[in-house]
Amino acid sequence: MSSNRHIQINPANTLANGKISFKNGNPVVRFEIGERDEYLLPHTLRLVGKFSIYSDSAGTTAPVDADGIRMPENLGVYSVIDTLAFSTMRTKQTMEYIKNYNKFMASFLDVSLSKEDAMTYLNNQCLAMPNYKTQQLGVVQNTAVGTKNSFCLPLVSGMTNSGNPIPLSSQWGVGGLEISINLAPDSNVLFSSSQTSARLTDAFYELEELSLVAETVVPSPEDLAGLRSQTTNTFEFNTISSFYQTINSTNATINFNLGQSHVLSVFGTFVPVRYLNNLNQNGLATLYPLNYDAGGVDSKSVQRAEIQQLIFTRQGERFPMQFNIDTPQKDYAQEESAPPEVVRGYIDAIKQFTKGTRCQLAPLNNRVVDNAVPTTGQPDDIFYKTIPLGGMTAGIGVNYDSVSGNGVDFRSVPFGLQIQSDLNTDNPNALYLFVHSRNTLVSSNGSVQIMN
């Protein structure tokens, strides 16, 4: 009978003081799960540690309210992970590489977990909280210096969520697993709660006591003998690939060669390029496109650039929908409610719409509105930093396969996206696009081949 066992692994490149931060020059964390005749249960994989934010460069002072330091409340510690990579330890082949991981998680968490989950489960595991002020006071301004913030992150990815045990053996598996995490710059994690960053210049975040915990399955001696006698083993897993593009016109056309044969879905989110790595702005926000205001990037009122039409194409033809998605804003530009077909497509791409029972998208945090700093008499929810329920949850997406799980072949044909919007000023909006696809890994006599 097979049995399970727990493993706990410390980083392979940890410093003597055990502290890791982007600011102090060690933005990469690497874990090595050595080769062994066991399966790794990927859904049990957790990054464990403690998280702190300091307002001074010495790392001795916790932020106070007057500093106005914030971090994305919907992401918590996920916001510090810029890239996540899984590769085989023996041959160093990349199995999955997710760039802009924090942006991916912003979409994933909003769509797959409810407000109650966010207040409880995510609050415990990744220090998120679906209200910006509660998160700021409880995590960023956690004054209990001795206590710090414990976290235990599930490393969500296509591979870990596909549920298939990963064979770690060098004979009948991937030959060990290497997990690399690149940390995000402080300027893209921390931002000002107001529109001034004077008190953020020295602020930084820090991780310590990092480790990776997981569970493995030890096959029974009979099963092990059978596995060792196989010359070739295959292992199916999902991956998330990320693409980046900017749009800066009323009629944006985007084309990518995805190079994947089993594409399950594509989804993406927008944020003005000017918000990236800007201490005044939340570069990890998931917004609808915005226009530029003459008052500058930190203007108190930025007009929306409402999406009027979306067309997803494959090889230049509309696919899978053979029609244009016209939004309510096409007929009536002042309409503030989120375009329902776009929202449905976004949810469907991340978690099959009909199966989704938990979600944080709501009319309150998914609206097509100008972005304005409220003045007296105005409600707070017109400003993207003070939207409740975890902030704005906008995005676009398309599900290619909700039936067979086989996906659509994009190996030799381009994926296309046409966006007609009211983006009529010079304000590039970044589009982070994520592709969910299925891959197969074949291992034979110690060598590994990944087929996508």
């Binding site: 009978m1 097979s2 049995s3 399970n4 066992r5 727990h6 493993i7 706990q8 049990t44 957790r46 464990v48 540690g49 403690k50 409810s114 109650e116 989950d117 207040m119 409880t120 489960y121 609050n123 415990n124 595991q125 220090l127 909280m129 209200n131 910006y132 002020k133 509660t134 006071l137 409880g138 995590v139 956690n142 004054t143 209990a144 210096v145 001795g146 206590t147 710090k148 913030n149 414990s150 976290f151 235990c152 006591e209 480790s211 915990v213 569970e215 007296t376 008499g377 409600p379 707070d380 929810d381 003070t386 939207i387 409740p388």
Partner: protein, 474 residues
């Protein structure tokens, strides 16, 4: 019971089979249909009832529906507007629940009300608010405490969150300190309304979540025995500040009843099932308790290495709670909480935990991270405990509102009061004769006396042979 399979086996044969060349659709004969299922609900009175013990006896008929209910109500004796502890509701009343067949115990859980304190954390806040409040009396939903801005307009900023029972009345009390906002419970939940609450049979006896008892096949008497929480422990209900202290609240025994739902299928199906299962065995989980008291002093670690039993059994899980003995009716959760190590500015309270059985530790390195403890609970149970970080480990207590709920300050009653640990024994091994050892080091607890409870989940087998049931460990 696979009813459709039984039906196909017991369906009467066609009396005059039609020739094979006649299409089936035009043949005359019986057509297999879905089974008719009747549910018969009986209102059972207790055969024995007192303020400390209640026994119900079930009729040996049909199959017992696992969602049959036990009804409880309290007696208003000028004890003020008390209310059931928010975390467990009316489940606070039952100290031990036993299901007996003849003289044999199928399922028995000691300190069941504390056990439910743990189980209730897996009920989602929305269910607590919209369903459990009216059924079991549990009501731990949460929502944000939104503030007003400078112009006294409601805005989106919430410094803290609070208990959400669907209402938020702001009442000014001159005597309750600086924070005068207070949320009251809906009036029907208070003692003076003598509301009736119900407890699900499958909550009392977890094995009923997976099995339905074929009562008609059992020849012995089937009884449910409830040992009630002693009145003088003051754990039955919580009290607001205005109510008299240490009042012994009575259960209204006239209102105690059981709504027993019996399922019936057509007689021939039930008889056929009975004939074919003369000797029937099913496995289920039972929970035994290991309890120990100890004292702690602030600033001193409490190190515990103790045997929690399990020798010779197949154990799948163990979960641990730690209640502070001084917490009673003055707290919203009463004593049905599990306290965390205290957090302060200069030190980091934490629990170092591990489990050892068959000569090996469960974890290669002792668990100390609070978020990891939470993760272990979720992994062991396969579902999420719906408690916040401040409630679980007291790591950011400032998140919970300082305003009052039923005149009790919410931070006092909720902060670090859900700190339970769970260990899933994943090596598929029978525990050897040495049993399981629990290694816990609490750093550090507030001075006081504590009771540590550890429930161990083990596999049992029940065999029903010719109407007589026998119970053995798997």
């Amino acid at each position: 019971m696979d009813v459709s399979r039984e039906l196909s086996k017991t369906a009467p044969p066609e009396e005059s089979p039609a020739p094979a060349n006649v299409p089936e659709i035009v043949r005359i004969g019986s057509i297999p249909t879905n089974m008719t299922m009747d549910v018969d609900s009986d209102i059972l009175e207790p055969v024995v009832k007192s303020q400390s013990f209640i026994r119900y006896v079930l009729d040996n008929k049909g199959l017992l529906h696992s969602n049959s209910k036990l009804i409880f109500s309290m007696t208003q004796n000028a004890h003020g507007n008390r209310f059931f502890p928010l975390g467990v509701g009316a489940m606070s009343l039952i100290e031990r629940a036993t299901l007996k067949v003849g003289t044999k115990e199928i399922n028995s859980i000691q300190d069941w009300n504390h056990y439910q304190g743990y189980r209730s954390t897996f009920v989602s806040p929305e269910n607590m608010k919209e369903r459990e409040m009216f059924t079991t009396g549990r009501c731990l939903g949460y929502d944000f405490e939104y503030k007003n801005n400078a112009s006294l307009e409601s805005n989106t900023e919430a410094d803290k969150y609070q208990i959400d029972v669907g209402r938020q009345a702001k009442v000014t009390y001159a005597t309750v300190g600086t924070d005068s906002s207070e949320t009251p419970l809906p009036s029907f939940m208070r003692l003076d309304k003598e509301a009736e609450f119900q407890i699900n049979l499958s909550d009392l006896f977890p094995f009923l979540k997976m099995n339905q008892l074929p009562l008609y096949m059992i020849k012995e008497q089937i009884s449910i025995e409830l040992r009630l929480s002693p009145k003088n422990l003051y754990q039955r209900m919580s009290r607001p500040t205005g109510a008299p202290a240490n009042a012994e609240v009575d259960i209204n025994l006239d209102k105690c009843k059981m709504i027993a739902d019996y399922i019936f299928y057509p007689t021939e199906v039930m008889e056929a099932y009975s004939r074919q299962n003369q000797n029937m065995t099913f496995t289920y989980m039972d929970y035994f308790l290991s309890k120990q008291g100890f004292s702690a002093t602030t600033g001193t670690n409490v190190e515990q290495i103790r045997n929690i039993g399990g020798a010779g059994k197949i154990v799948t899980k163990a979960f641990v709670s730690l209640s502070r003995d001084s917490e009673d009716e003055d707290f919203l959760l009463n004593n049905f909480s599990s306290v965390s190590c205290s957090q302060a500015l200069t030190f980091s309270g934490s629990l170092v935990g591990n489990l050892k059985y068959n000569g090996h530790f469960l974890y290669p390195i002792d668990r100390e991270n609070n978020a990891l403890h939470y993760h272990d609970v979720a992994q062991a149970e396969g579902s999420l405990p719906f408690v916040t970080r401040a409630e679980y480990s007291d790591e950011n207590a400032s998140d919970i509102t300082g305003s009052k709920f039923e005149s009790r300050i919410q931070t006092d009653s909720l902060t670090g009061k859900f700190f339970r640990q769970a260990y899933r024994l994943n090596r598929s091994e029978r525990v050897n004769s040495r049993g399981i050892e629990l290694f816990h080091t609490y750093k550090t607890l507030v001075t006081g006396s504590y009771t540590q409870r550890c429930w161990v989940e083990s596999v049992k087998m029940a065999n029903l042979s010719n109407g007589m049931m026998t119970i053995v460990d798997a």
